[in-house]
């Protein structure tokens, strides 16, 4: 099997096809859950890349919100095409990450996390207080067009879903292939031993900068999808610090072993949140917080580790069975 087209790639591709097919059968509320999961999943992939580098950001709502607000701003000046909006939202978020990256690549550990948070709160402060930026009310997002075309009302959401799935797929496969490149392996290298990286001839800070920009781009994609899905942007739901916390939650929930797992984690998070809110609105935060605690305590490597856990147990069972058989044969 070619190393690029490995199990994860095919898994993602099957997921893509599956979702596209499922699209025809989904009810609207399911589609919304799916869209929101795809959106958050993209952001979480960026955080996965950073996590592997040994860095955690408590402020990625910065780029998420930036992408979302770019959509709002562009609609105000009349741009309505989804693909243009996506390009711009992603590009601006990436640009911001590029600029901030020069600063942030010099920090590690808790300082990196807090500096990210500080910047995200700066954006929050600016957005929440500025009237011309919508203040705490934010902006409504109108329906978008697709390559200039406006589909019939009942086709709008399915087509949006198709686009979002494609964006997410490209992001996921791109990230997966990135992680297989030399630069991708440098996530591990920088995390493990920066001195060695320097002495092998590459700048650890430059590596971090590149990953930071990637994470910004991905968060921007997520922001655009969310803005268009929800139809509304405001600082509290997109830039405030618990939003960043939730992204990290998803990263931990999914585990950092596999890019595809991130979408599963995002879906689980989304389902948890939606159902908790619907059936137990007074305690949905409690449920969310409680689940996070459970994951931290009992499944530190996320949901994905369940898979390897099961595989280990199966292998152990088989090994035991083999040795038992062998012992039985010897007796005979």
């Amino acid at each position: 099997m070619n190393r690029l087209f490995d199990k994860t790639f095919w898994g993602l591709t099957i997921g893509l096809v599956g979702l596209l097919v499922l699209n025809f059968f989904l009810e609207e509320w399911m589609r919304t859950i799916g869209l929101q999961s795809l959106s958050r999943g993209c952001v979480a992939i960026g955080l996965l890349i950073l996590w592997r580098t040994g860095l955690v950001s408590f402020g990625h709502a910065l780029f998420f919100g930036f992408g979302a607000y770019t959509v709002a701003m562009m609609q105000i000046i009349g741009v309505n095409d989804l693909f243009v909006l996506l390009f711009c939202g992603t590009a601006t978020a990436g640009l911001l990450a590029f600029v901030l990256g020069f600063l942030l690549r010099q920090y590690r550990a808790i300082f990196f996390a807090l500096l990210n948070m500080a910047f995200s709160m700066i954006l929050y402060g600016v957005l929440a207080k500025a009237e011309w930026l919508g203040s705490t009310d934010g902006f409504g997002i109108d329906q978008v067009s697709f390559f200039g075309m406006n589909p019939a009302d009942d086709m709008y959401r399915p087509i949006l879903f198709v686009c979002a799935v494609l964006f997410a797929y490209i992001s996921a496969v791109g990230a997966h292939w990135y992680l297989k490149s030399t630069l991708g392996m440098m996530t591990m290298a920088v995390r493990e031993n920066e001195i060695r990286v320097e002495y092998l001839g590459y700048s650890a800070e430059k590596a971090i900068h590149i990953k930071y920009v990637l994470s910004g781009l991905l968060a921007g994609i997520g922001g655009v999808i969310m803005a268009v899905t929800v139809g509304h942007v405001d600082p509290d739901s997109m830039v405030y610090w618990p939003v960043s916390g939730d992204f990290v939650f998803i990263t931990i929930l999914s585990g950092t072993g596999n890019v595809g797992a991130t979408f599963i984690g995002a879906l689980v998070y989304e389902l948890l949140r939606t159902y908790a809110f619907e059936y137990a609105p007074e305690i949905w935060q409690l449920i969310l917080g409680g689940s996070l605690l459970l994951i931290i305590m009992f499944l530190p490597d996320g949901l994905w580790s369940i898979r390897s856990e099961l595989r280990n147990r199966r292998e152990l069972r088989e090994a035991r069975r083999d040795s038992d058989n062998r012992a039985a044969e010897v007796k005979r």
Binding site: G125, A128, K129, E282, G289, L292, I296, M297, P300
Partner: protein, 290 residues
């Protein structure tokens, strides 16, 4: 002056945060919930007390009793029930765990006290107000500022002059060496956490009469307290004081001069400090290890 009032309750919350970080190296997001709990419990008790027709002055007693109670109960629950298992994990995980605990406690507050705001203005009304330099101030707010300095002094004294303070400094400096010397680090962690929790709750409790106690105050305060701690120095008590003053005064200034930049200013300072002096304006209590 507004700024100083703002600073004083921030200091109370932030100092608990900074002490916990200094000793246990934990960035305790749950602290926001301690503040909220302190505010709610106090407001609730004062309400009951007043309804029972008891003298308003008792409100002050209730403030400290609530804070102490929460300090012990919540402190033990969180430290023994959660943090104990996480001390050897990655520091980011610990922060996330405290974030999760924060979410849980926020909802516990909602479950106990519902979503309506509580107003417990009695202690404040009792003290009336006075005129200083032509401006009218609530005496209660003045007492809060005074409380800040009292607490700061007590902490300084406790850290530098008492036996326990010395032990604390040892643990901050090097956990392992302290253990090797026979210090019961587990107990120290627990006591420190309880003190920190008490302070956080006290911040909420004392602030309760001034504000409208409602959902969301914990979320707001914790991120501000983070800013204060970062600015002042993570683990430094004088830093928490200075940080709180900086944050409080800049916010007040912003509100009066450029209301739009109120929040921006605080976090911009936080970012600036992280950029220029990541350790904060004051060196932490520990000595630097090369």
């Amino acid at each position: 002056m507004d700024g100083l009032v703002y600073s004083s309750y921030l200091f109370l919350v932030a100092v608990g945060l900074t002490v916990i970080f200094g000793v246990q190296k934990v960035l305790n997001v749950t602290h926001g919930a301690f503040y909220a709990f302190g505010a709610y419990l106090t407001a609730y008790l004062i309400g009951l007390w007043a309804a029972a027709g008891l003298p308003d002055a008792g409100g002050f007693l209730l403030i400290f009793v609530s804070a102490a109670f929460l300090g012990v109960v919540l402190g033990v629950i969180i430290e023994r029930g959660l943090l104990k298992f996480l001390y050897d994990r990655d520091e980011h995980i610990v922060v996330l765990a405290t974030f999760a605990a924060f979410l849980v406690l926020e909802d516990v507050i909602l479950l106990i006290w519902g979503t309506d705001p509580y107003l417990a203005f009695q202690p404040m009304a009792l003290l009336g107000n006075s005129e200083i330099a032509g401006l009218i101030f609530d005496n209660y707010a003045l007492t809060m500022i005074a409380l800040t300095f009292v607490v700061a002094y007590i902490l300084w004294y406790g850290l530098n002059r008492t036996q326990f303070g010395k032990i604390l400094l040892a643990v901050i400096f090097d956990r392992e060496v302290s253990m090797a010397m026979g210090i019961n680090v587990t107990k120290v962690f627990l006591i420190t956490f309880m003190i920190g929790t008490f302070l956080g709750a006290l911040g909420g409790a004392y602030h309760a009469p001034i504000i409208s106690v409602q959902p969301g105050i914990g979320v707001e305060v914790i991120v501000l307290a983070f800013a204060v701690v970062v600015i002042g120095g993570m683990g430094s008590i004088p830093g928490a004081l200075i940080g709180a003053i900086i944050v409080g005064v800049s916010r007040a200034a912003a509100v009066h001069l450029f209301p739009e930049v109120e929040l921006f200013v605080i976090y911009a300072i936080m970012a600036l400090v992280l950029i220029l002096r990541p350790e904060g304006l004051f060196a932490p209590i520990k000595a630097r290890k090369i």
